[in-house]
Symmetry: C2
DNA sequence: GTCTATATGGGGATAGAC
DNA sequence: GTCTATCCCCATATAGAC
């Protein structure tokens, strides 16, 4: 339970933010070091290889997922609304790590692919338990996924277009729950 | 109207397929050459730089989009259904180039970001003209986007989960059109 | 724990043979 | 039009000073 040193967390966060903003190619150890205000050697002290950074992000992702699944299951508004509402980036830890996992999965990094499949499955099951209908649950999840992907896209269009949509999409979720 | 040589097309296709399957990092000129069964020099004859490959993909993307927008506007089933139905990968040219643009945009390649914003806007407008309600149109588009992103994800879960969902999602589209 | 070298490999791109 | 050979840079990783 030793709390990890600050520099380590800064480097890991910088790694995830760079993956999101600039992609895998630009996410070099140099870039991570610069963003975390460390030297390359400093980063490599905490993460002996680049894959170690990915593995650490994966671990944090798993932890965030477990917390998220718990609050989703407990949410007063219900799992479906909770899921869609938090799909529009709030800057939470889960967002950060989720987008990082998406980028890693898109490079066919198998551990990320598997972790995403696991959490997608879990989300879908929670939503389906609430709304009953399988395909309504899938529709709700796809809407959330769409929001997630747009929220991670560079450029202003996505932000401007969907910023005021979440409330309306939540009404649609309520509607799908009833029918 | 000179038809471009076969080798050029093979290289461009290989580039897009690699972007989709392995990501930007792994999409090296070497890898493109190997997949297209050419030498590195052969690829670099047709595309003098790596950016030239991206630009060629962008150009093909624009052409595919114009065709797609035209058939969407004319579709007997209406734009919304057409959009969702074709979001679940059919292996069309548009799919190939769209996913390539997604990957390039995710690396913050500005021309790809702008091209995607343009076509998203155009899709959304066509759908909104049909369904009337702004937020119903957004929901339909997000469902399509969600399908697109899942269809481009490595691993079997997405394919297995949504393969039989499209018909049901289309019913939901009809429902949204009416309400 | 963090830094500055430095070795090594690979990717992008050029030159020139065929 | 396509190939091979080569150069150069940059990213990863190591060694060792502080």
């Amino acid at each position: 339970m030793s709390r990890p040193p600050k520099a380590r967390n800064k480097a890991l966060l910088a790694y995830c933010e760079l993956l999101r903003r600039d992609g895998e190619r630009a996410t070099t150890i140099d870039a991570v070091a610069a963003r975390a205000e460390l030297s390359k050697g400093g980063v490599l002290y905490h993460f002996p290889s680049k894959e170690a950074l990915a593995e650490a992000a994966l671990e944090e992702f798993r932890l965030s997922c477990e917390q998220d699944l718990a609050s989703m299951a407990e949410a007063a508004e219900g799992p479906a609304r909770h899921y869609v509402r938090t799909s529009w980036t709030s800057g939470s830890d889960l967002d950060t790590y989720y987008i990082a996992m998406l980028r890693l999965a898109q490079s066919s990094w198998q551990p990320a692919v598997e972790a995403l499949e696991w959490v997608h499955q879990a989300w879908l099951e929670l939503i389906q338990e609430e709304v009953g209908d399988r395909y309504a649950a899938e529709a709700i999840m796809l809407i959330g996924e769409g929001l997630y992907h747009h929220s991670s896209m560079p450029g202003e269009w996505s932000r401007g277009t969907f910023a005021r949509s979440v409330e309306h999409l939540l009404e649609l979720v309520d509607h799908l729950k009833r029918s």
